[in-house]
């Protein structure tokens, strides 16, 4: 017990040593550059930070107020996530993006109680799309259930709209993240008459021999994958080992980065993944990033991730956050906004083609609008395919609309269950 007091005193001095804050917009980045998911966490965090660095260097911040990114290492671990949240929330953090479904589940009630918005872009709790129950959580522009539906729509497309009797297997990370799409897929399997089989892979997913043996035995027509980190690489390698046709293997957007396909080499050619934003570095904004950030030696991390899929996703997340902050400044008439203003800005966010072009990211993602009821956006996603020879992802489809007829009732039901369990009265949207 005495030891505790000493350590506490030392920790206190360390906390005190951190300097006071000036008027600035604080964007915490709960990143993970260590642990089994670091390969995915690092490029995202780099993209997120680099965009704010670019805004500071090129435009002097957002609306004339400098931005500051506070990074905190979570290692994809919920306990460290709690520590990071508590350590950064006092600094005036405007919005949290933890990039982990587990940490998201923990932060939804906490951040709501503290009045800080949470943006879980393409991950987290799907039913957070229901803005009447989840006032402080947002998951635009797409969520897992919409992702599952888009994947099925793509398969429908290939098969001319009829997939009755086809076998589809879902290979998923055995956690909250991987289990998310199951309900939607079950609903869709009833609607379209395909056979669904569920194949879980335990954390971290380095060992998948038995799962792929099962796939070899069951011979599904398509395999969908909800994987993250090292699990993706292993799955693609195993698929190559059993000579599963790669074009019938479709990953969610978290299973479609360069890190996932490069280790399998030429065998990964043709592997498909969903994405809710565009790929490559052929956009005007990347010239600015090179000029103001990378060449100026201000890039986050090692600076070698620019233009990779997950870097682009971090960049996209930062762009949406910055646009929401701009909107919030406009709505509140203040430069130095509070987290509550930020929430209003996020709820009023509208991303148009013209605005994206203005930002140097034409057609980078779908145009969408957030409303009070719908915090989830349109859920459009496209399919990208890996070209092993060129070592590049290529978009092979337009942005598909998800089947909201199946998803909306599920979102409603899950949000209602959450509201009931936590005594929340859904708010009225005018």
């Amino acid at each position: 017990m005495k030891m505790k007091v000493k350590i506490a005193a030392a920790a206190l001095t360390a906390v005190m040593a951190a300097g006071p804050a000036l008027a600035e917009l604080v964007f915490p980045s709960l990143s993970y550059r260590t642990g089994p998911y670091a390969a995915g966490g690092a490029p995202f965090a780099d993209g997120y930070t680099d965009y704010f660095t670019l805004l500071n260097e090129r435009d002097g911040g957002i609306g004339g107020v400098k931005t500051r990114v506070v990074e905190c290492e979570t290692g994809y671990n919920t306990e460290k996530g709690v520590e990071c949240y508590e350590a950064t929330k006092g600094e005036g953090s405007l919005v949290y993006q933890p990039l982990s479904t587990g940490i998201t589940y923990q932060l939804i009630p906490k951040a709501s109680a503290d009045g800080i918005p949470l943006h879980t872009m393409g991950y987290g709790r799907t039913s957070a799309a229901d803005g009447t129950v989840f006032k402080w959580a947002f998951n635009y522009p797409a969520n897992y259930w919409q992702g599952a539906s888009v994947a099925i729509n793509h398969i429908l497309d290939i098969n001319g709209g009829d997939i009755k009797g086809k076998k589809i297997a879902l290979l998923y990370h055995n956690s909250a993240y991987g289990k998310e799409p199951i309900r939607t897929l079950e609903g869709l399997s009833k609607k379209h008459g395909f056979e669904l089989s569920l194949i879980p892979v335990d954390h971290p997913g380095q060992e998948q021999k038995s799962q792929w043996l099962q796939i070899r035995r069951e011979k599904p027509d398509y395999v969908l994958m909800w994987g993250w980190g090292v699990m993706n690489q292993v799955a693609i390698q195993e698929a190559a080992n059993i000579r599963f046709p790669m074009e019938n293997f479709i990953g969610i957007w978290w299973s479609g980065s360069e890190n996932d396909v490069l280790p399998a080499g030429a065998a990964a050619n043709g592997y498909k993944a969903l994405n809710f934003h565009n790929v490559g570095s052929d956009y005007p904004i990347f010239d600015d990033i090179r000029k103001y950030v990378v060449d100026a030696g201000k890039a986050a991390g090692s600076g070698d991730n620019v233009g990779t899929v997950l870097y682009n996703r971090g960049l996209y997340a930062a762009m949406l956050a910055a646009e929401a902050a701009r909107k919030a400044q406009e709505l509140s008439g203040k430069k130095d906004i509070t987290p509550a203003d930020m929430r209003d800005g996020m709820e009023a966010l509208e991303i148009t083609e013209a605005r994206m072009a203005e930002l140097g990211m034409p057609n980078f993602g779908p145009a969408f609008k957030v409303t009070c009821e719908n915090h989830g956006g349109p859920g459009k996603a496209a399919v990208q395919q890996w070209d092993a020879e060129a070592k590049q992802w290529k978009m092979i489809s337009d942005f598909y609309e998800p089947d909201m007829e199946v998803i909306q009732p599920l979102i409603k039901a899950d949000a209602e269950a959450y509201a009931k369990e936590n005594d929340i009265t859904p708010r009225e949207c005018k």
């Binding site: 350590i7 906390v15 990143s31 260590t34 906490k110």
Partner: protein, 358 residues
């Protein structure tokens, strides 16, 4: 000179057998209890509660629980994470099924359910020992995590398998859920730690504890002097699992608020708690606290010094922290294989003789 028995006269058996026979120790103990109960709650904020005190207190309960089994009764267990999961899921099911009953009872009943599960998995200990028992308990760890992942009833059929704690109150004050004040979280953990540590201390120095230690030191000799191994071993499993179950329930309900079985209660949790008692000291209540402090607080301290104080990049600090904590564990175990508790004991011996060591 100040730390000595001389002059501290004991006139009754009760005084003679008290936990802290030296006056300075007693004062130290009362001071710490006073600070913990009457000072810290008024100054604690969210960061200190959630990042420092609450995890430390809850891990201390788990470490005391495992220490009873491994340190006192000599039965190695690698199933702590699984038993914590039993406590957490029992608490979740009870909280959601009987919302009108006080959370304190739910936590205690969760401990009881875990004790029953622990006894069931403790049965093999009558036939197997040492490493073999460790492997059997590791099987319990994997089985329990698999069970809570596989059977949707345990997580109330939620879409993702996550369990989250709704708001529950004690005397009208929220202790679980997002609206819990920092001091309330801290106080409920502290009350459980205080009571359980007190129970553990008194169990281990009474008949029950002596039986456990006899079994630990040599089970055949223990049988010859009249210790029945069946009740002795099973009671160790029951008491230990009760503690671990309560730690699991608090860990989920008070500390995290939402948990996912594979991530929060995986095998790494079993090893973490085992490291705590090895570093803290086997067979020592103080050692359980010291080990929990070492494993929980050191990473937080390092992070704050390296990132907050020195401004290192977060990834470098995280990697360095892993290396440094690992190195410290090795150095500790080489320098003092019996843990921090032994260092403390040696320091006390030296203090008694100071300043005339001969």
């Amino acid at each position: 000179m100040f730390y000595r028995e001389a002059g501290d006269f004991k006139t009754s058996y009760i005084e003679d057998s008290q936990t802290f026979p030296i006056r300075l120790d007693r004062w130290g103990y009362y001071t710490i209890i006073f600070i913990a109960f009457a000072v810290i709650p008024f100054f604690i904020n969210d960061y200190w509660a959630n990042a420092v005190f609450v995890p430390f207190l809850i891990y201390s309960i788990a470490a005391i629980g495992l220490n009873i089994l491994t340190g006192y009764a000599g039965q190695v267990s690698l199933g702590t994470g699984g038993f914590m999961a039993v406590g957490a899921f029992a608490c979740y099911k009870l909280m959601t099924a009987f919302p009108e009953i006080n959370i304190i009872f739910h936590i205690l009943i969760s401990g009881g359910i875990t004790a029953a599960v622990g006894m069931a998995f403790g049965l093999p200990s009558l036939r197997i020992k040492g490493f073999y028992l460790a492997v059997a308990t590791l099987a319990a760890q994997f089985f329990l995590v698999w069970l809570f992942n596989k059977v949707p009833w345990f997580y109330n059929y939620s879409a993702s398998g996550q369990i989250s704690a709704p708001e529950r109150t004690v005397f009208g004050i929220a202790v679980t859920g997002p609206h819990t004040e920092a001091w309330a979280k801290y106080m409920i953990s502290l009350v459980f730690v205080f009571v359980l540590a007190w129970v553990a201390r008194n169990l281990t120095r009474g008949t029950v504890g002596r039986k456990w230690m006899a079994i630990r030191d040599m089970d055949i000799a223990a049988e010859i002097i009249g210790v029945n191994p069946l009740p002795a071993k099973l009671s160790a499993f029951a008491v230990s699992s009760f503690f671990v179950g309560i730690a699991g329930a608090l860990f989920f309900a008070v500390y995290l608020g939402a948990a996912e079985v594979g991530e929060a209660f995986g095998p790494q949790k079993s090893f973490l708690v085992l490291f705590m008692i090895i570093i803290g000291g086997l067979g020592s209540i103080f050692g359980s606290f010291a080990g929990a402090a070492f494993m929980v607080l050191l990473p937080v301290l390092l992070k704050n010094v390296l990132v907050g104080g020195l401004g290192w990049p977060t990834d470098l600090a995280a990697q360095f922290e892993i290396m440094l904590v690992g190195a410290l564990i090795i150095i500790f175990l080489i320098a003092e294989p019996h843990g921090i508790a032994q260092l403390w004991r040696i320091a006390k011996e030296k203090l008694r003789l100071w300043p005339f060591p001969h």
